[in-house]
Amino acid sequence: MPVDIDIAKVAHLARIDLSDEELAQYGEQLSVILEYAERVSALPTDGVEPTSHPLPATNAFRPDVVTSSLTNEEALAMAPEAEDGYFRVPRILGEP
């Protein structure tokens, strides 16, 4: 079954800037892979609970204790751009 993909929208959601050619190429590859992956739908799974995690445990917590943070220098050491102790980025358009 051919899978219909709005590849430009997917690339935007994933924040990867691709050319039209690249989009077309990835779109095609994704169709092929998804057709293969879609085999999963052949298996009847009515009433089967999804497994999202292999560990059958709950409540892994951390006590509310302060541990040491990175210094400002350490935090910014690998920043592509920094200014006055902040990470610097180009202007931000719009809200989250």
Partner: protein
């Protein structure tokens, strides 16, 4: 005389403690091996000569002072380059992280440092551990030490190759769908994926969080058990770290398989698996039977869907895990007028094709309208796979199968066909979906002289049993071949 680089960890430990060798000697032997294998192998992205020598000297002083942190003290060990090492570049073989130096050690790395291991360097992998050949590394493909025109497998291909040639005595990798066991099989070494949660994932650059697990490469089963012991343990920094009692790993190695029930997995012995590999698997099954095991055929009916489910679950998780690579706080940045454009351009330039493909795939599989058909269904299939294993373990102690459908393939043979490449992991993926431990042990070579891996699987926390059977397989296989690159300096 045996070159020190070819010693087992067990033997090296004996000699370190008897004073016959020093940690500096072992490091120098590894360094020599690195010097003459690396030009052909490209197993390492970074060799930490200064750090390794400094650690070796500290360790030797400790030995002299009678301080002994255990079996890994003084042992030269290599780390896959997706394990964060404080002060030492960690790239995950991605342009995105080229030159990134973590300000922290992952827990497994910290445990190794505390155990006195001599960390020799960081090994090559498929970018962000996505791949089965290391061809997806942004920094060049590693070679198979048995045939440099072939791939070492992946994604932990560099670690596997390094252990195979002796440029490290043991190594660590990560296994999300087979990324330890498959390259171990292709390089003729032991590779093991522990029960999910046994080794902390803190500081392991995440690919698929519910599947990733750090595990060892070694030239013997006992060495692999010692390596795992060095890193396993509960970690407060990983919420998915196992909190119960940990299995003992080295106690049962001599016990043999007499009376054990061994299930050979029917669905992993089909035509799509290379006939020589099937024959080798069958032969080992017969030897186990001769050694007293009760070998039966078992079925994991959902396993043929496991690969499909995996290629929905892992990309979905990776699409979120890799979102943090955005050029804002670290890593490389492509300048642009707005932050949104900067992120999109940075990610386009930073990720290679396979990573891009999987991020797009996962993004799609999670998006509105498709979630249930793809991701949701894959998670239900995951439940079925686990149920299949549970049923199989009602009548068996361990399961066996080939590790891989083929031996090492030629570089470039599968790069244009993602699905063919994905099929490399068909035998290993079910254990990841189940969260169970699994190990690959070399049992022979094919007619081309390429090693064949034999996979043993056990239920969660069944490491004791797994290593016990693996040790017997190792004895029965009498596998002593070494790759040409490791044999002598003169041959290369």
């Amino acid at each position: 005389m045996t070159d020190l680089a070819d010693l087992s960890i067990v033997e090296a430990g004996r000699q370190l403690r008897s004073g016959d060798v020093t940690a500096v000697d072992l490091w120098e032997a590894a360094a020599t091996r690195i010097a003459y294998t690396e030009p052909h192998l490209h197993a390492f992205l970074t060799v930490d000569r200064e750090g390794a020598l400094a650690t070796a000297k500290v360790v030797d002083a400790a030995f002299r002072a009678g301080e002994d942190a255990g079996p890994l003290q003084g042992i030269p060990i290599a780390l896959k380059d997706n394990m964060c090492t404080k002060g030492l570049a960690t790239t995950a073989s991605s342009r995105m992280l080229e030159g990134w130096v973590p300000p922290y050690d992952g827990t497994a790395v910290a445990n190794l440092r505390n155990a006195g291991a001599v960390l020799v360097g960081k090994t090559n992998l498929d970018e962000f551990a996505m791949g089965s050949s290391t061809e997806n590394s942004a920094f060049g493909t590693s070679r198979n030490p048995w045939d440099v025109d072939r791939v070492p497998g992946g994604s932990s291909g560099g670690s596997a190759g390094s252990v195979a040639v002796g440029s490290s005595m043991g190594a660590f990798g990560s296994d999300t769908g087979g990324s330890i066991r498959q390259p171990a099989a292709l390089c003729g070494v032991v590779g093991m994926k522990p029960t999910y949660g046994l080794v902390s994932r803190y500081g392991l650059i995440a690919f698929a969080s519910s599947l990733d697990q750090i595990g060892p490469f070694a030239r013997s089963v006992e060495d692999a058990a010692l390596l795992l012991e060095g890193v396993a343990g509960h970690d407060i920094h990983d919420a998915t770290s196992y909190r119960g009692e940990y299995p003992t790993l080295t106690d049962g190695l001599e016990k043999g398989v007499k009376g054990l029930r061994v299930g050979i997995v029917k669905e992993l012995m089909v035509d799509a698996i290379d006939s020589e590999i099937r024959a080798a698997t069958r032969a080992m099954a017969d030897k186990l039977s001769d050694a007293g095991a009760d070998v039966v055929e078992v079925s994991l009916p959902s396993s043929e869907y496991a690969l499909s489910a995996y290629y929905l679950i892992a990309p979905a998780e990776c699409s979120a895990n890799l979102a943090r690579l955005d050029g804002v706080r670290y890593g490389n940045r492509v300048p642009a007028d707005t932050t949104d454009e900067m992120m999109a351009k940075t990610r386009a330039a930073g990720f290679g094709p396979e990573v891009t493909r999987r991020i797009l795939l996962g993004t799609y599989a999670l998006s509105a309208g498709y979630y249930d058909a793809f991701y949701g269904q894959a998670q239900r299939v995951r439940t079925l796979v686990r149920q299949d294993f549970a049923t199989a373990y009602e009548q068996t102690d361990v399961l066996i199968s080939p590790t891989t459908p083929t031996t090492a393939f030629e570089i470039g043979a599968k790069t244009d066909d993602p699905i063919a490449m994905y099929y490399s992991d068909v035998c290993t993926i079910p254990s990841n979906l189940a969260g169970d431990p699994s190990i690959s042990v070399p049992v022979g070579v094919d007619t081309r002289g390429l090693p064949i891996g034999f996979q043993i699987m056990a239920p969660a926390l069944g490491e004791s049993m797994l290593f016990r059977v693996a040790a017997e397989v190792e004895r029965l296989a009498e596998f002593s071949a070494r790759p040409s690159l490791a044999v002598s300096k003169e041959t290369v």
